[in-house]
Symmetry: C3
Subunit: 343 residues, 3 copies
């Protein structure tokens, strides 16, 4: 009996199955600093204890996507080590903020299974949930992945595809904030909720070239063990001939780029859906643009529904929508999410 | 109206103009660790709480250049996003030490403006000031940058060039230190203030090759958004055909190298002047040498006035002074500063 | 008189000589986060305060090899700056755990000297010892290095080769742990002490490709100043034509890879012996496998004696033992150590 985890295959999942993920992780200001160095994010609430306290947080919360990526990493050894593709995300809700010193752990439930017509792979739907050391939910999300079968001849399970909401909703598990104390000079943007209109498009202008060392450092920080990100010896002969960059790294890059245009959109409330349209490799330059597709209020705050698209090697001045491929530049990420900002 | 910052052009500055910079930033031991990993600095005061307490600090202060680079980064989106060149620094004074947990914010005042004869660019002089969460000044400095005009036909403002001091002076905003408790074995150098003579030259011996991932991590840690450092897609067709390394990264590399020969020069009191003589690109190896050009005492401490020169791809055994260019090895930095050490 | 350290040569060492090393270092959660990003280690005790407290630690201790590498780094300027080769380790004992906020300092004693027959080099044996701010020993180890002579004509000292134990033993300087509270779901492995048999071999499966920026960040984090790791300008004309990766980086990589198969082996109690069989360079992919060569109990815990071998560019499915060279793939590290795990 091998003691090493080779990951689960499609046959290893069953509907309703619950999985406790290793390894619990205490996040700290060290993780915050690394996240800063990896993405250069400038949202004031996550950068300054003083700014965060002025609006009602007890201290500066950690970046929502640091929490997301940390949680995601925990699910990899059990859910997606043998995944061929990360197909999508839905119903991702951020609730209790996470602070330096909090310990996160994660579990998942299998909520859907569907063998593909090829008989070689199947799609697994899981709802993953992260809690802090007090058992308070900090994040939950659904994702679905295409997973290899161990044996092509295994019988297919009854197909169950969960009905997923088109919007994640917005949770209220956050401190009572005082957006009236928002300092628009310090935050780096004069634009508040009312300044954004549905249909508005924003080119985030900047581009950032990604290096192998950077995405490897990030992906390890998240304790994500997916092999395609780290092993050039194996990937040389793999699908792309090189290491594939973890999709969550692209999400974090796009969010950091979006500061230029969405500087007060300080918190991701939920991710309604997400799609990795094409792969990213080291040497590629990531650009991003956003479209406002909805507006709502949430207590004293406004919520913008935003679709951010990240591209590889395509500046976003004319708001490109065409998917890239491994060979051709184009859109690599489409992320539909709610972000909060002061009214 | 665009919501994205494209940076200020020469016409956007006016004499006496005050600018509040985004984003306030709480520095932590995470930033300290990253700074260590990026530069390998070994000054005992910034490395050990115990060493720092023995001489009178409440805890180990953060590296002066981490503070400088953090402050500098804040000024970039407002001052130098459209800069063609960082021309110089002066009157840089470090005052209240910065500790893990302190939150820094920055503002600037325009103190000089002079259009260049070409009519295409102008020089902007700003005095920038950083304060902690109690409003205590931690750092102030003057820098001047060559900035593009938005429109060549704009009228030139009245030329005002500030008179700048040749020496920054030395501020007293520091704890009452007890250099008698200095442990010369633990600090890594037996040499105290009296052991250095004006005119003395020191080759710092070591060389360090810089990688793209390293300078990008550093520059993002400082929330410095200048595009030339990150975007290979654009820079491929730019002035140098590649990403330019942030000048503050070179200053930090030179200071860390200078430990070998100036091991007890534990605090930068002020920077009298600085000049980036030539660009640095990834793959270049940085060496450094220093000359002692002045001595003074400051309370119980001695202050050495030092000119440190960093080179690209030139070992410093014979104290090179010739400037490099983008193509040829040579001096890339000349930094004139005061450093404190025990008598 | 030069103020810069050029390192000690063989003639500079004398039997019984005691060396206090610079620079004391306060380790923090920032170092923990960087260590995570550099190696992706997933041992629960070092990842989660909650997990660590459940079994009796006051908080999550820092990784043993972060402590080892930090200590090792301190010895480099005095012991191995002019080393040609790190020949071996022995009698390495980890005792008091190290927590964020602890300050480590290091000293060494010369316990052996032997000139080599060539007359150009000699072997220096030192026992190095690291203590925390309360003077409690956290680590001690013997290492021997081949060091250049300053002058071939210097007389050879009397040869003294210390008798070293074949096993480091296991120290008891640790909190009273409660392994009964071990959560095998959260730790990521169901396997406890009794599940391992002497003679058992484990392929750790994963491979990780190392980048220049990564090993440089790591080696600087440890304040290790050995020049061969950083200076491509000099190494271009050196032994290998490129930068050599610090051996301790390989040890940390191998230990992190070993999680997959040894997930509950949460603490290194001692290193019995170690050998760097071949060099590692950037671009190489590191794999690892382990063999259980002994078992013992230590209070309520079990101790496995493990030999972990790391390879360069050789997957470990058939447990390779052949040494690599600078040119040929093969074993690059052989590490014989005791690790603790719940019974």
């Amino acid at each position: 009996m091998s003691k090493t985890g080779a990951g689960n295959f499609f046959e290893d999942f069953s509907l309703g199955q619950k999985i406790v993920h290793a390894t619990p992780r205490t996040l700290s200001d060290g993780d915050r600093a690394l996240y800063a160095a990896l993405y250069g994010s400038r949202f004031a609430v996550q950068s300054s204890d003083e700014f965060a306290r002025a609006i009602g947080y007890p201290a500066s919360p950690l970046d929502d996507l640091l929490v997301f990526n940390t949680m995601f990493g925990k699910t990899v050894p059990d859910v997606s080590l043998n995944a061929i593709a990360n197909l999508g995300y839905a119903e991702c809700l951020f609730s209790t903020p996470v602070y330096a010193g909090d310990t996160l752990s994660a579990s998942s439930e299998v909520i859907g299974l569907k063998e593909n017509s090829s008989g070689k792979t199947g799609t697994v739907y899981v709802r993953s949930r992260g809690v802090n050391q007090r058992g308070e939910e900090v994040l939950s999300f659904v994702r679905w992945v295409m997973v290899q079968k161990r044996n092509e001849k295994s019988a297919a399970p009854a197909a169950v595809v969960p009905l997923l909401k088109k919007t994640a909703g917005i949770k209220t598990g956050m401190p009572r904030l005082t957006p009236a104390n928002w300092d628009f000079a310090q935050s780096g943007s004069p634009d508040r909720f009312d300044d954004y209109a549905v249909g508005e498009k924003i080119d985030h202008l900047d581009g950032v070239t990604v290096e192998e060392a950077e995405h490897q450092l990030a992906t390890r920080l998240y304790q994500n063990t997916a092999r395609v990100h780290f092993n050039q010896f194996a990937e040389r002969d793999g699908r792309f001939g090189r290491r594939l960059i973890y999709g969550g790294h692209v999400i974090s890059l796009a969010r950091a780029l979006s500061f230029n245009g969405l500087g007060n959109a300080f918190r991701i409330a939920g991710i309604n859906g997400g799609r990795h349209a094409a792969p990213l490799f080291a040497g590629g330059t990531v650009f991003a643009w956003s479209e406002i597709i909805g507006k709502a209020t949430q207590g004293d705050l406004g919520a913008l529904r935003i679709v951010t698209r990240a591209t590889r090697d395509v500046p976003c001045g004319d708001y490109p929508v065409e998917d890239g491929t491994a060979e051709t530049p184009g859109v690599i990420l489409e992320l539909d999410y709610w972000a909060l900002l002061p009214c």
